[in-house]
Symmetry: C2
Subunit: 133 residues, 2 copies
């Protein structure tokens, strides 16, 4: 890259270097519709399948199954099945999963802090750009 670093921010020389840092990697994992919600719910403690289902409005059985399985596959959660009748399955975060929950929580903090600012910016933009499309 031959561009000049004009007006660079202080932390620009950080871990991201010049190229794509790991940012797309995470988003490819957690950027889907349900993963973060399941992670956040599990960050509160052990949960059964049905508890997750009720705690996360709108999720279907299918998507909850797929989401929990991917979390287990990636070592972010673990599954414990008790061979009772009726069956009982519990999920809990691994240490890695808890560290992800913490990182995600920071992003959620940003969201709540700047929700209003973005809302206003959008209102301004839409007022100045009447061509809705």
């Amino acid at each position: 890259m031959s561009v000049a670093h004009t007006q660079v921010t202080p932390q620009a020389g950080g871990p991201c270097g010049d190229d794509d840092c790991g940012i797309r990697e995470v988003l490819d994992r957690i950027g889907d519709k349900w993963t973060v919600l399941v992670v956040m719910e599990l960050s509160k403690g052990v949960r059964r399948f049905r508890e997750l289902h009720r705690a996360i409005p709108g999720i279907s059985q299918r998507m909850l199954t797929l989401t929990t399985r991917r979390l287990c596959r990636d070592g972010l959660a673990e599954r414990t099945a008790y061979p009772t009748i009726p069956p009982q399955v519990e999920y809990h975060l691994t240490p890695m999963g808890r560290s992800l929950a913490e990182a995600v929580r920071q992003l959620a903090d940003w969201s709540r802090e700047h929700k209003d600012g973005m809302q206003e910016a959008r209102a301004r933009w839409d007022a100045e750009h009447p061509d809705e499309g």
Copy 2:
């Protein structure tokens, strides 16, 4: 919600409460394929359209236009057009955009730290679950 909070983690009583915190809001903004890459590139300093295009491999003109415009609309970036010939357009992050870049960088840090761990977990899982689907 009538679920009992068994084995709750220490930080569970935090800003997320019992419900969806702002986490889906952010991901609905930045969870797309290109936004974070543009933000990260702009976090290094002012960039022209063409510079962004070259710095972000694989992005099309169309997607770069759409992405930058949404950033401007949400007050995360600003656009400066110089009526020269040929045209020249510069983009830069607003303070709000820079704060987003910082939050995103933290998530990227998590990604790089745990990339290997997830890779291994997945290898283990795939070994124990020969039924590929």
